[in-house]
Subunit: 708 residues, 2 copies
């Protein structure tokens, strides 16, 4: 086991240790009065019940796929799959455990001051963030160590590569279920609860008489916290693995191959340290600017990371290396890393522009609300479409710059660097549901109005950080998918060049993914359609889940008039239970769409046009998913954020203020934006990557010769 | 001049003759009472004023581009550009002239019976349809005759090919301006008028006290009639030209080249005849089913066309021909033609499923309206996303089938066959605005309620035919763009292979559009983003135009209280005038986006990475625009149709009926769907093709050596 690997594993352990220490500190804080604890207990119970049921369902699908992987590829790949799946689930589960305990403590801390509230909420988010980064890094690096140092496989051997890819697949599978199931749950509760409470019964949001309120709070934790954690765990693990696979292919047989394969792990390792340091710089200054405090930590992390990446790349790549006809050195790779961080920064700024209350887009949506529901939605859709242009341009510039610096491997290193900050970024995001919950608990427990002012201030920032993180998650997923696509094409080249006579790849030759081949066009169209269909299915699912909630709350109001007068407590548990069943039922089909589609397309086209066109068509399908997926996901998350904050802007007293007709129109926009930004949009992320990773696994399966 | 060309030109002249005869018959019908004539005159005046201003503006842009084309390519190309632009404009203008006269006559005829109303409205649509097909066919075939028989150029020479492509470009330019300008006008009037009338003032739709009513009726004519006419003129001309270009490249130097280049013209020619015959079969049967009457005509046209295409392909392609390593005969091309007709039929059926009131999608949107504005919009968006899957699958199957029958040329012939029915399809569409106007005139002139019942029945069918035509226009535009893309790649191959030393293409070699080249990915992402950005810009434009209308109508109500009491007539002309200026101003920037983008991208990438990658990146950009454009356009037009008819379903008395809360929510969805389906979505069509045709022209310019 090399020194580098040892240090990487230590960095991973440090992240987990940070999580443990902070959790312990968190749990020592006061959980507030009896009423607050009672509410928090209901949320905890609901979230645990939901995740238990979700994981049970995923486990059934997972075991089936595990057996298929074991039969078609082998036991090591199956073990990798299990590791990826279990650790991804664990990161989400632990994050949720902390989050449902931090919410009530944040409400309590906020009653002692804004600074204490911020500290509590952010530290809880940081626990989730570090667990995501730490567990993902540990999973990849420890399993890699076991395979190479333990079992003695060559690092570039197919056994190692396939097992790591299978690990990524395990993470992907959890991720899509968690994102989609959690997303349907949280938005079903939110949309359904608002419809039956705010609109029908005329009671305020978070009113304890509404049986859906606990479910709404549970949703924040299982969707925005556990779902996001699984998503970024996956992007982190998959991108690291894909970069390692590319390194194995590009540098096979050279003396730098070892270092090159470890480079992504090393970058992630040092950036865990810079992220941990950054968390200590999140402090409310004299200006009491919450967003400023968070950015301060992010900027410290970013600047330290530049130095750390410089140190790592120059140490691990001491000379000039050559891939094909391109040569580059450590400094080239360092600049690729900087480009990755620059893309992150640009996406953060662009997303804030499109979703922040201080800029043209959100203002225009708020202004359009004055003339009615329709114009609010029209302007929101216009902004949602427009918001895709600059992030796409950023990614385009990133690709061009890093490709010119160090070829495809440069793009991979840039993506790895972008993701190496995931620990801190997830911390920013997981902060959101905690403050959201804290506000809900403050409302339901009848805490003084000034507490609600503090939690509202934290919550507004949470909305922006949630949007920013989603922009980051999608941008990195898009780039990560490009790395996966490169791994697919390079893998295919390798298999075709090294085919044994009579094997599947024998006589395949070079597969051209040329746009003038109609099967490539077919693949692009087929893949391009998946995010649209997937988006449509998941929006419909939210609608159905919301209807189930509406029916249940209506029933409770009808059968028990005491609820409305406040004499009887509604049955919160039943609402959670009904929504749980709805969300689990609705998540299955859309989740399997990206798993089944690549395999189906490959075999259909193979039957029509033969192997070569089938591989070309499959490759084009992957690219089609990436291209439209990127735009669909960004438009949904940014558009949803803009609608949400346009409502907030009006509630702050602009364009007529709370209760005005403009406000009602803005509530409509917010409702539309909810499933857009919290269900369909973010779930497109894992969807993009799962198609790519299934294609990679398909190659591995075909190479093993089990299927012909 | 060959016999075939003579017959094609006669077919084109017959279409124009049909238009003239029917117009004369139409104008002889009674234009109703004085009040009706007064209203109709206001609409006529407004529509003419708008189109005059629109064409003046386009003429300025057009002359600039004409000069550029003349300088960079040559006078013949400039002449082609002028022919395409003028004829496209003429088709739209004449269609509008008839449409604004048929509206009042339809209202009058409807007062004498449903059958008379249908006949009047459909014949008016048929005039526009036949003018579109006839003028487009005449433009291409007469100019081709002049170039070859008149000026003696070889049919496959660059002079002929470039001049025909320039003709397509002229048509494209008019098309994007007309679609977008008309779309902004019509929906600005519609959305603005509804907001200030229905919502604010509480007066019904088409109430004569609303100053925006005349503008709304004008909009139907300049948007749905003239805009659609220009759009399909363009697709028709461009696809025919692109197929001819492909034939010139594929069969250059063989003895079938003449016939192959004339084949698309011949197919269009015979199908003009079958379309004319079909129009006589549109008769209201005993069942009084309006949609059935229209479908009867379409089915007759389709069946006759199958026979006609069989006759043409087998006559013109008597033996076996070879392109590359693929051989095929007339029967193969016949089956490609049948596939094109089958794609048309499938898209008609799928669009009706997603937008008809009798099926799941529209019912689900109507049902979701019961729980509020937000859920209506969510369900509408879900259906809009979902509705892309089946049309895309249809196109995919079409590509695979026709490619296997006769290679890329087979895809081109299928697309030509699909478009050869444009005359009849435009007739179906142009029927819509006439009945819409007739209803408005009946309302404003205070005709008896039973007249309104007849016009409403016609109008409801008009909504479906409009949606169906849009699906057809987009599907054919997508396939047409693929043919253009094939022309781009084949042209590039030709230029690279025949480069003179020192010329731009010298030493270029074969350009690979391989997805593993990052510049291809860059092109896909850049191109893929354009429809989103374009959609965002045009939605915003509608919002701004609507605001201008609202401000004007409010001003009139405020400054002249007599309008509300009915004592004073509002100043309709001012509303039309203000909207005209807004629409013209708003259409410029988005329209130039697809013209400028390909040129800009090419030179930027050329500066960074050299010629070969720049050509690859540009090609990928074209494909990116096609892939996302297809999905964006379909989702917008189908989604918009679903929202519109969900409202109609509720107005028919379902889910609470007119005036219920569900109805209000459905009105919101309809408002959102308006710019979706009538502005942004349809304008994506010409946008897709204009990028492709600009790229083709860029190749021609570079080949002339004026730019290096």
């Amino acid at each position: 086991m090399s020194l580098t690997l040892t240090l990487v594993i230590i960095a991973g352990l440090l992240a987990v240790l940070y999580g443990a220490v902070q959790s312990a500190a968190l749990l020592r804080a006061s959980p507030g009065n009896a009423r607050m604890q009672e509410i928090a207990a209901a949320i905890q119970e609901g979230a645990q019940a939901y995740l238990r049921r979700q994981y049970t369902t995923i486990a059934i699908v997972g075991v089936v796929i595990l057996i298929i992987v074991a039969l078609l590829i082998g036991p090591l790949a199956a073990l990798g799959f299990a590791i990826g799946a279990v650790l991804s689930g664990l990161a989400g589960f632990l994050g949720m455990l902390i989050s449902v305990r931090a919410n009530v403590r944040t409400a309590q801390a906020a009653s002692e001051g804004l600074e204490k509230g911020l500290s509590m909420a952010f530290r809880s988010g940081a626990v989730t963030g570090m667990l995501v980064a730490g567990l993902a890094l540990l999973g990849v690096s420890v399993y890699f160590t076991i395979l190479t140092s333990g079992l003695g496989y060559d690092p570039t051997s197919r056994d190692v590569v396939d097992s790591l890819v299978a690990l990524g697949f395990g993470a992907s599978l959890i991720s899509i279920f968690a994102r989609l199931g959690g997303g349907i749950f949280t938005k079903g509760a939110d949309v359904g609860g608002d419809m039956v409470g705010k609109v029908e019964a005329g009671i305020p949001e978070d009113d304890p008489r509404n049986a859906a309120t606990i479910a709404d709070n549970v949703g924040d934790n299982v969707g925005d916290c556990a779902g996001m954690a699984a998503d970024l765990f996956e992007t982190y693990a998959v991108t690291t693995v894909a970069t390692m696979v590319l390194a194995a292919i590009f540098f096979r047989g050279t003396d730098v191959v070892g270092n090159m394969m470890l480079l992504p792990l090393a970058i992630c390792g040092v950036c865990i340290l810079t992220s941990i340091i950054g968390t200590f710089f999140v402090r409310l200054g004299k200006s009491r600017n919450i967003m400023g405090a968070l950015y301060q930590g992010l900027i410290v992390t970013g600047v330290l990371s530049i130095g750390a990446i410089w140190w790592v790349t120059n140490r691990m790549v001491p000379g000039v290396v050559t891939v094909g006809n391109r040569t580059f050195d450590g400094m080239n790779l360092f600049w690729c890393g900087v480009a990755g961080l620059a893309v992150t920064a640009a996406i953060v700024v662009i997303t804030e522009f499109y979703t922040g209350t201080g800029y043209r887009p959100v203002k225009s949506v708020a202004k359009a609300s004055v003339s009615g529901h329709g114009t609010n939605v029209i302007q929101g859709l216009a902004m949602s479409l427009e918001s895709t242009a600059l992030p796409a341009l950023t990614i385009i510039i990133g690709i061009i710059v890093t490709y010119n610096l160090a070829g495809l491997f440069g793009i991979a290193i840039a993506t790895t660097s972008m993701l190496s900050l995931a620990g801190f970024i997830v911390a920013l995001d997981a902060f959101g549901p905690v403050t959201d919950n804290a506000g809900g608990i403050a409302e339901m427990a009848g805490l003084p109005a000034e507490v609600r002012v503090s939690t509202d201030a934290l919550d507004a920032v949470g909305n922006t950080t949630k949007a920013v993180t989603k922009g980051y998650a999608i941008g990195s997923a898009g780039l990560g998918a490009l790395v996966l696509f490169a791994a697919y094409t390079e893998d295919l080249k390798y298999f075709a060049a090294n085919a044994t006579p009579g094997s599947f790849f024998d006589g395949l030759g070079a597969v051209a993914f040329d746009l003038s081949n109609p099967y490539v066009v077919v693949g692009l169209l087929f893949g391009g359609g998946l995010p649209f269909l997937f988006g449509g299915l998941s929006m419909t699912a939210v609608g159905r889940a919301a209807e189930a909630v509406v029916a249940e709350v209506r029933r409770q109001f009808r059968e028990n008039p005491g609820i409305m007068t406040g004499e009887v407590k509604p049955e919160y548990g039943r609402a959670v239970d009904i929504l749980t069943r709805a969300a689990i039922r609705e998540m299955i089909v859309p989740s399997l769409l990206p798993v089944v589609s690549p395999v189906l397309l490959f075999f259909v086209i193979k039957a029509i046009a033969g192997k070569s066109d089938a591989f070309a068509c499959l490759g084009a399908m992957l690219m089609g998913v990436i291209v439209t997926g990127l735009f669909v996901a960004i438009s949904m998350t940014s558009g949803g954020g803009a609608w949400d904050n346009a409502k907030k802007l009006i509630e702050e007293g602009h364009f007529g203020g709370k209760g005005s007709d403009a406000h009602k129109a803005a509530v409509t926009g917010d409702t539309v934006g909810d499933p857009y930004k919290d269900t369909a949009g973010p779930a497109v992320n894992p969807m993009i990557k799962i198609t790519n990773i299934v294609a990679l696994l398909l190659l591995a399966v075909l190479a093993r010769g089990v299927i012909h």
